[in-house]
Symmetry: C2
Subunit: 422 residues, 2 copies
């Protein structure tokens, strides 16, 4: 049996020491390391694929579904994309060291804030091995050390990738310990990581709900997580109905298995009779299953099949081509529905009315609130942040896409010339 706590203590100590160095160097040195990491991945393409072959063989032997096996596979193209991703992260603006809000106090000292790395980040992820490189690149770019714990089905691939990343760090003269990989499939190692609060500053789980729940329950370290995405598109009485149709269709159908897809459509009763039959026909013809309130079903009639909504529908993240629909009498009723059923991920209003748009923006309490835009835009790349670690539905520290800024924090700095407190 492995002493997982002892192992994590050693990994954590080394990560802490590496983090101190990464935080102290300048952005150029971190970018050089990212360049070397990308080169190393490309140079060892064959070794990565050989390691990947072991995971693929095990997956086949274990009867994994073809779609899952596909996600595991490291193709030539996939390795190129992984290296390109590391280079793209290097090209992002340096988030570290920015000094803001320096203001003089009456006694003459300047008080402001400096953006600094969080320190050591633990990332627990499942399935796709490219996360190993993506996550490590974001952490190194933002001056953090990272401890990676991937899924057991990808352990050979993840280990091989992490080794190349560490080699890249060494080649750039930085501590290889800034990217460490927990090299065991022992589930106890996850528990040990979650208890390692002396050396790990933050945990980011990337994976299914089971993983995230376990992390939330066991972690003694603060967690940046995202759980469900039960996102709403609200078509207001003053909506441009053509736009509303396009936004509903895009929000629901552009990609269905993702957290920012629309799961519930709310429609103001004043436009429901005109809007619902056509949007439902369009969705239904595209293969979307519809589940509506009584009013929806009555209004849609023969235009499209709409099943009655069940007790759970408004609280379900379908992650599939299924849409719940409800007619609301007022904007207030829409806001109350969202307050009650939203997972605080993404909501959008379709309206031409400025006061109603502003009210929706102010009062909806979600990580992203939109006017006349598709819910599918809540994403780091779409928001211009570059790559992301996930989309946080927490309120503390970072809401919405977790990009480089989310991996940093602000400390106060004070520049004085001998000021004393009276």
């Amino acid at each position: 049996m492995i002493d997982t706590h002892g192992m994590m203590e050693r990994i954590g100590q080394k990560a802490r020491a590496a983090a101190r160095i990464l935080a102290a160097i300048d952005g150029k040195a971190r970018n050089l390391a990212l360049a070397r990491m990308a080169e190393q991945l490309l140079a060892d393409r064959e070794a990565l694929q050989a390691a990947n072959a072991l995971d693929l063989a095990a997956a086949q032997a274990n009867g994994l579904q073809p779609a899952m096996i596909d996600r595991l596979r490291l193709t030539d193209q996939g390795i190129q994309a992984m290296a390109d991703g590391v280079r793209e992260v290097a090209a992002l603006p340096d988030p570290v060291g920015e000094i803001t809000e320096m203001k003089p106090r009456p006694n003459g000292m300047l008080v402001g804030r400096m953006r600094v790395p969080l320190g050591v980040i633990g990332i627990i992820y499942e399935s796709r091995p490219n996360v190993t490189a993506d996550a490590a690149a974001l952490c190194v770019k933002s001056g953090n050390a990272v401890i990676l714990r991937g899924g057991s089905e990808a352990i050979h691939s993840n280990r091989a990738i992490a080794q190349r990343l560490a080699l890249g760090l060494s080649a750039a003269g930085l501590p290889a310990d800034a990217v460490q990989f927990i090299d065991t499939t022992d589930r106890a190692a996850v528990g040990a990581l979650l208890q390692c609060d002396r050396h790990v500053d933050i945990i980011i789980p990337r994976g299914g709900k089971g993983l995230i729940r376990r992390v939330m329950e066991e972690s003694r370290i603060p967690v940046i997580k995202h759980l469900d995405g039960i996102c709403h598109t609200y078509v207001d009485r003053y909506a441009d109905l053509e736009m509303a149709e396009a936004l509903t269709f895009n929000g629901k159908m552009q990609r269905t298995g993702v957290c920012n897809a629309t799961e519930t459509l709310l429609v103001h009763q004043a436009v429901a009779a005109e809007f619902l039959p056509r949007v439902c026909r369009l969705l239904s013809e595209a293969g979307c299953e519809l589940r509506g309130c009584d009013q929806t079903r009555a209004l849609v009639g023969e235009s499209a099949p709409v099943a009655p909504v069940g007790a759970e529908d408004y609280d379900t993240e379908y992650l599939d081509a299924i849409l719940a629909i409800r007619v609301v009498a007022t904007l207030d009723e829409a806001l109350t529905h969202i307050e009650t059923h939203s997972s605080r991920h993404t909501e959008t209003i379709v309206t031409r009315d400025h006061p109603r748009a502003m009210r929706f923006l102010r009062e909806v309490d979600s990580s992203a609130v939109m006017v006349n835009a598709s819910t599918r835009f809540n994403d780091g790349f779409q928001f211009g942040l570059g790559a992301e670690m996930g989309i946080s539905t927490d309120k503390l520290h970072v809401r919405g896409p977790v990009g480089l800024e989310g991996l940093t924090c602000l400390k106060y700095i004070v520049l004085g010339d001998g000021q004393l407190r009276q």
Copy 2:
């Protein structure tokens, strides 16, 4: 026996409903409520003192120390100061609704962020009843509802104050449930509050280490806390020694029982022989007990009594007129000492050397890092934030003084005109 979980569920639901209203109204309405709250405290001065008399009588019967009883007492002046404090919070700039960083994306939609309240804040505090009003005022100003849980020794005073605050809210036409008081001394109520993650967004403990540890262990809700303040003053080889003497004395002795007092003095060996005898004499004459490394003791000699530093001293928050002293060979050694022993609260360097000052600023990982200023300045009022909830030594969300901004978060907002994701 009280059903504490049922009670907390009801309190939490009412707080959530009130929070939604507080977030939706404008700053003027919140300021009006604060004005009414202050008026109500002053109008009911006698009732507050009658309630306070019950706490004082119980404290005397229970043999509480005179200093503790003094902290409990609500004098005329104290009530006036409490009401003035609420008015000062009202006069601060409104932290809610600010929209920043709105930038166009290539597809024409604008993406930025809006500052919004956190929602429902649970505050668990000990001893001084004025915290009831201070904390509630900050929460209402920042558009949050608050659930207050005070110490049992002040329950009559806290209840009376909370009732007046709720009356003030009602008088301003706002829901009284925005300020709720857990009206039981049952310790299980704290546990129930810490489990109430559906309705409470954040917990802020204000009190001793025992309280904070319990909260950290039991809470399922994110916590903004501050634990120890083991703060360092580092006198560099390029320090102005007169300034260094004043800053050391101020950092240690201006007030000793507080978290931003200096607990350890680090002195570069190049100036130790000149600096240490005089600063030690000064401190010793002011009644400060000194505990130094061997080199310190040798250099100070007959100038002042310096006891040998023990194994625990560098890791102890004295909260008293005691100072640990260590001579370091280099700036690096000072940084390593701080990395090892600091509680990440406040550190200051005294130096005239710009590169060394910048290096200290960058590399010391604390909530406030200072150059040529007293550690005692890490404080919401001193930093110009107005009143504070405490000083966070966490890294997530807010580091340093937790003012109004720390009680808010940023959500993304998107203004489009029909953009679809491709």
